[in-house]
Amino acid sequence: MEVNVLDIKEEVKKLNALLCYQCGTCTGTCPVARIDTRFNPRRILNELKIKGIEEVLKMEEIWYCIECFLCMEKCPQNVKITEIFFKLYEEAIRRGIKKPQKYVGLFKAIYSTGISTGAYGGRGEPLSGMILKKRETMGLPKPKISQDAAKKIIESTGLNKLLG
């Protein structure tokens, strides 16, 4: 199945990117920005308007968002900030500008096993014999996972070609 290619400019506009009036509430509430000043969502939204998407897609710091949705919740202009980052990620990966190792690890695990056990540190591995044995001694059933379904879905959108 062919997947429609995004019109990234249109997508970002739909998420109210142009309504930003630079109040800085996002940066003020961002847990990342208070530690690492390289990440500044307000500035990124400004550069989206001034320099345009092509330039912003190349910025390394867009990848520092940790997806907590706090800025989006607080934005007085209802700019869907976190979702704008998602669109930028999707487009940057689609264009081959960036292949973030964190997502490659998650992708590999899900593509080959149907699940990812790597919530800490972005790694993943299948349920090992040791884990299954431990489950059994605790009286917990063996999880029945549709390994192939995840693979088929990933191939249907072509994500395997981008991250594989």
Partner: protein, 290 residues
């Protein structure tokens, strides 16, 4: 009361203490759980990088779940967020739903008709069972225990589809701790994101977010940090072990799933709640309930 359990990825592999305590607590409260088979990852990790992959994976799980004719329950903030979001998207966009349905039929011979409700354990406890009912079943008051709660981001945000609690300063987990007789301490880093998602992208930020909370909790003194999300739990527990090893700094804040302290209050033994698997031992709890 019966639910289909969506197990997710991390819990059945790494957090058997969360799984066993949830099972035993539900049993004690008269809630039946049926394990949902043939599931895959909820799609959450791909929501930010491939919307269509996320939606197809979440929809696949919802279609499998609809066979059970039950509401779905999960122990994970990420899974619940992903599946609730997908349900909303599919219910509001009939064209998208039809497209996804065709994909599911063609490839897996399954389809979405009535999409089941998706709930977190905390939704079941707070909304479906209720504080009063839980309170009636408390056998051991957890008096003299001081806990810090950490709710996590994705159970309350975005509030456009996760409308469970105050999205900025949630308080329902505090209430659930307090009905057990324990104190839920107020602290300044209470709503700070755990930082798990910075791992592999910006590790320094992840560690710093963790340290800020641990330092405060060390200073004010608590008997444990109560979580309801596998990602937060692992960040706090494994993160503390990592800092202890690499930087020789010990915070020794026990990280505990809410279902574990609920179980103790309901009279379930620490062993049946998986406390032997908690890597930072909650000494005061184990001393009292040995």
């Amino acid at each position: 009361m019966k639910y289909a359990l969506f197990l997710g990825c991390v819990i059945p592999a790494k957090l058997l203490n969360y799984e066993i305590s949830t099972r035993n607590v539900f049993k004690e409260l008269g809630v039946e759980l049926e394990y949902m088979n043939d599931f895959i990852c909820c799609g959450f990790p791909f929501e930010s990088i491939s919307e269509e992959t996320w939606l197809r994976m979440a929809a696949y799980n919802l279609a499998i779940a609809s066979r059970y004719n039950l509401d779905i329950v999960s122990m994970c903030n990420g899974c619940v967020n992903s599946l609730i979001h997908a349900k909303k998207v599919l219910e509001e966009d009939s064209k998208k739903k039809e497209e996804i349905n065709n994909f599911l039929k063609e490839n897996f011979n399954i389809e979405l008709s009535n999409i089941p409700n998706v709930k977190h354990v905390i939704h079941v406890l707070y909304n479906d069972i209720g504080k009063e009912k839980i309170r009636e079943k408390v056998k051991n008051e957890l008096k003299d225990f001081r806990f810090a709660v950490h709710v996590g981001c994705h159970i309350v945000r975005p509030s456009t589809y996760m409308n469970f609690d105050n999205p900025i300063e949630p308080e329902k987990l505090d209430e659930l701790v307090e009905i057990l007789g324990a104190e839920s301490v107020r602290y300044t880093t209470k709503y700070l994101c755990c930082g798990n998602y910075a791992r592999g992208i910006n590790d320094k930020v992840s560690i710093e977010l963790l340290k800020r909370k641990m330092e405060e909790l060390k200073n004010i003194g608590v008997d444990g940090l109560i979580t309801i999300c596998p990602a937060c739990y692992l960040q706090y527990e494994m993160g503390q072990l990592e800092i202890r090893m690499k930087e020789k700094i010990s915070y020794d804040i026990p990280v505990i799933h809410y279902t574990q302290i609920l179980g103790l209050a309901l009279g379930i033994s620490p062993k049946e709640l998986g406390f032997d698997l908690n890597k930072i031992k909650p000494k005061k709890i184990l001393e009292k309930f040995k």
